[in-house]
Structure formats: C-alpha cells, structure tokens
Amino acid sequence: MANTTLELVDVEKSFGSVIANSGISVKVDAATVTCILGDNGAGKSTLIKTLSGVHKPTKGKYLVEGIEVNFNSPRDALDAGIATVFQDLATIPLMSIWRNFFIGNEIEKGFGPFKWLDVKKMKDITKQELLAMGIDLRDPNQPIGTLSGGERQAVAIARAVHFGAKVLILDEPTSALGVRQSGIVLKYVLAAKERGIAVIFITHNPNHAFLVGDRFYLLNRGKLVQSMDRSNANIDELTKAMAGGKDLELLTTEIESVRKK
C-alpha cells in the first residue's frame, strides 16, 4: 500500500489505575480512509485524544512519517499537519462562513503595525476551497449557523485541508446527522481522501465506515480486537464484531428473561 503517514506502535494510555487503551498498533496511509470502530466505552475517545495531541501515550510509540513525535498540545499536532474535527466544537454559528473558515488563521494586509483583514482574498479562498470539496456557496457572508449540520462539518473539513492537514481526524462526524446529511459528509470524506489526505474516521456506525473505509480497526474494552482491509472485510462481519458477538447473545437472553416476567 501507499506510504504510511501516521503510525502507532503498541500504544498504551492509562489514567492512574485505569487502562483506557492498551496494545494499540495502527497504521494510517496517505490517501486512504482508516476507520476506527467501537461501541461506547471502547476507548475511541482516548485514542482520538492521543492522536490529536490532547493526551500523551503512557507507553508505546507515535510516529508521523516514520519519525517519532511527542506532542504536548493539540497545537503541536496541528503544526505537524494532524487536524482534528470535533463533532460539536467545529464552528461558531453566528459568524459568517468565511470568518469561520479563517478563524485563528486570518490573512492580513497593510504596513508596519497597521494591519487589517484581507476580506476579499479570504472570501475568494473560502469559495474556492469549498467548491473543491464540492460545496457550491453563493454567499460566504451568511452565518454558518444557517448551514445544515453536514455542510458545517464539510466546511470544517475543507478548512483543515486548506491549512495543510496531512492527517484528518474526524470524531464521529455522522453520529448526530440524518441519513442524507451523513451521506453528504461521507462524500467529503472521500473528497479529502482524493486530495491525498490520510483520513481517520472514528465512528460507531459500521455501515458508514464500510461505505468509505479502506482499512478498519475494531476497538473493544480499550484493546484492538480486529483489523481488516477492505479486500477481506464484509459488512456483516463488521457489524457482528462491533456488537460484540457474545455480549449481544448474553444481552438477548437477559432481555428475554426480563420480558417474560
């Protein structure tokens, strides 16, 4: 496969006596979509936070393009080209689309200490970049809150791509969306992939993962329980593995015994 952009080798993360992740080894290649699946409490959040620089791994190695890194903050990760789009913290509803796009990265012009925003340039870039992701905006001035949830995710993705992300971590981008909106976001996931970005797609929805994923990792109880490539994966297997096989059988019998009463 293509060159590996990001790699975790035998990573463990513990908080005091609680081991949230252990023995995690994942490979994320450029221009692919790597899906990390797991139910609630499987350790997905901890893994995202480790990847995005919020947490430091307790044990193991974190490699970016083959070089071991040691991030102290999400800003460090961002500087290394690893951008995370959090589901709810992506955008500021009342601000216009172009302002949201450039927030924290404003383009200025002027001389000496007198600097002001290059509004026209920022609006043009916003329009272009969103168009490149397949979003045709007529008016970058409208508040981003007027866009649908899926479109807002898309703007956040386009923003990460524009500011040089090599790795894009998407934290449950579809979990709060309806079917059609999810479809829109998945399309942008593929658009980002086509632009050569290594996408890490974290979800608990095997159907969404299967639509776009090239490689699948399954988390359960903080451990990597299964990994599959697209060539040897199928949706039933994914779903069954997700639900936790035996756990589900146990649950079924339990519920049935409750219903009988």
């Binding site: 913290l89 500021i92 009342l94 927030i103 924290g104 002001w116 007027t146 649908s148």
Partner: protein
C-alpha cells in the same frame, strides 16, 4: 452532488430586505428614525430637529456612546462590565485630586488616570478569565468597591463630596481644547466629545469588522471552546476588552472633569446600565457573539433624543427612565425577532 444544489438554492434565497436586516444595527436605525419622527412631531419648541436640539441630544449621547461602544465590544465577546459607570467618577476624581491637591500638570494626571483605568480593567479581565466566575459578579464587586472608595477617599482628601479647582492646574487650557472645548456648526456650538464619539465609532467598527482582533472578539463570544480550538487567544482578547471599557470610561471621566472643572464623588454611578441599554438596543446580543459598534452608537442617540425630546414635548421628564425601559424591551424584542427571521428560523 446531485441533491445538494437544490437544497442550496433554497437555503441561499435571501431577499434584499432579509440581507439588510441581517445587519444587527438596522433594527436600531429604524427605531432611531421612528423616535426622531415621534419627537419632531410632538416637539413644542420647534428646535428638536434643528441645530440647537441636535447639539443638545448629541451632547447627552456622546458620553454614553463613547463607553457604550467599548461595552458593546465586551458584550460581543460574551462578558459584562458593571464597573464602567463608576470608572467615569473614579478617573475624574483621581485626575481632579492629582492636579488640585498634588499640583501635578494636568496632562500627567490624565496619563496617570488612563493607566490607572487600564489597570482596573486588567484586574477585572484577569479575574474573569482566571477564576471563571461570571463577569457580572466580578465587575459588580469592582463597582461597589470603587463606589465606596470614591466617596470615602474624596471625603478624606477634600473634606467634601466634591473635588474642585481643576481649572487652576498647569496645562488646563490645552487639555480643555482637546477634551472639553466646543466647535461651531452654523451658529450652534457642539461639544468636542461628539468628535471623540464619532472617531471611536469609526475606529471600533474598523477594529470589529476588519481586523484579526475583531474576528477574535466575535469568536470568543460565539463559542469560546471552538475559538480556543482554532487557536484564538480568548483570555488575552477578553482582558484587552475589559481594559477597553475601563479606558473608555476614563476618557469620559476626563472629559467631564475638564468641562465641569471638578467632579462629584457620585459621578457615573448608575451609568453602567445606560451603556448596556445602548449596546442592547443597538443589537448587541447579551449572550455574546453578535453586535456592532455603530449599533451601540445608535442606541446612545436614541437615549440622547429621549432625554431632550421628552422635555421639548412638555412631557413630565420624571418618566424618562420608564420611556427608556420600554424602548429597551421593544428594541430587544424586535432585534431578536429580526435575528430569527434573518437566520432563516434556525435560531
């Protein structure tokens, strides 16, 4: 891409009117025009819409507007400053005491006053971002601390509740020219504070809409966490804005102490609500994230017109506050309604 263009078309359909109403200050401007027409028609002196009347209500509006602009910026960033009114008195008294009791040159006293105000603003801001307590509480505490200190220290230093004798200070004439002189339009004298107010409206509007810092103000008030994640220095932005309201209040204190040649210990107390009213009437959201400097200035104009228009109409001016309260309520109602309409019913 087969389905989204059609939905895009529906979302983007915005009439000129809707687009105009999306600007937060338009509601306030319509209100100001309505109140102008109201008082022009009820006016018994025939002067309300002429230069003498305009000089009157802009003179009331200017000191309110100067601070209201800074307060609006702070409110857009999601914070309140209740100590902005009392700061007017504190700075005026400080400058007055420095020149009348210590014999300082008034320019030096003005600089000390501005630096002192910036310091108080810094403390307000620092405490808000550090303790994460609501700014309402922290600045309410500052308000009462300063209010008490204004009275107590003025009594101790001057033996009365008033500082006087500012006009005898070295440099008084030049300082008065800058802060408290008048200029002529036609036959009518206008206060120089009007020029300060207009200048600040323009500067603040530029700052808010055309600079990086302005972007950060909106971001800090819109969603702190999202702003922080995007690399916006939220804490620094807020502290700077608290310093801004304090310094704006200090400017008004300096204008008053020079014009009145002295200052009462109670000056400015209660004004903080006028600033908040002006900002809110002007379309600044109390929860932060939206608003404008022009809106706050229009809000100040509305208050100035009410203060002059009510006596000009021979109404009982005891009711002025009631009138302003009703204006505040209806303006915020209308702004909210317009805001919802403009946002397409989404929020």
């Amino acid at each position: 891409m087969s389905t989204s263009p059609t939905t895009d078309e529906r979302v983007k359909k915005a009439s000129f009117l809707t687009r105009a109403l999306r600007r937060t200050e338009v509601g306030a401007l319509l209100g100001a025009i309505a109140i102008f027409i109201l008082f022009t028609s009820t006016d018994t002196t025939g002067n309300f819409a002429k230069l003498p009347g305009i000089a009157g209500w802009t003179d009331i509006a200017a000191p309110i507007g100067i601070v209201a602009i800074a307060v609006a910026l702070l409110m857009i960033a999601g914070e309140f400053d209740l100590s902005s009114g009392v700061m007017v008195g504190t700075t005026g008294l400080l400058v007055g005491v420095l020149v009348s009791k210590l014999g300082l040159n008034i320019w030096l006293a003005i600089i000390i006053g501005l630096v002192f105000a910036a310091g108080i603003g810094f403390i307000n801001g620092f405490l808000v971002v550090r303790t994460k307590l609501p700014s309402f509480i922290i600045t309410l505490a500052t308000f009462f601390i300063l209010k008490g200190a204004n009275f107590a220290l003025t009594m101790i230093i001057t033996g009365s509740v008033r500082v006087t004798g500012v006009e005898k200070a070295a440099g008084y004439d030049s300082a008065k020219t800058i802060f408290a002189s008048t200029f002529k339009v036609g036959d009518q004298n206008f206060q120089i504070s009007l020029a300060w107010w207009l200048l600040l409206t323009i500067l603040a509007t530029f700052l808010l809409t055309r600079t990086k810092f302005g972007n950060w103000i909106f971001a800090a008030g819109g969603d702190q966490n999202a702003a922080r994640n995007a690399g916006v220095p939220v804490a620094r932005t807020k502290i700077a804005l608290f310093m801004g309201t304090s310094v704006a209040a200090a400017l008004v204190g300096i204008i008053f102490v020079l014009r009145l040649q002295g200052m009462q210990a109670g000056q400015g107390v209660g004004q903080e609500f006028y600033y908040i009213i002006a900002a809110a009437v002007g379309g600044t959201l109390l929860t932060g994230g939206a608003g404008s400097a022009i809106g706050a200035s229009i809000g100040a104009i509305i208050m100035g017109m009410a203060y002059i228009g009510i006596p000009f109409s021979l109404w009982n001016s005891d009711w002025t506050s009631t009138f302003l309260g009703a204006i505040l309520f209806s303006a915020v109602m209308i702004n909210t309604y317009i805001g919802r309409k403009a946002a397409g019913g989404k929020r």
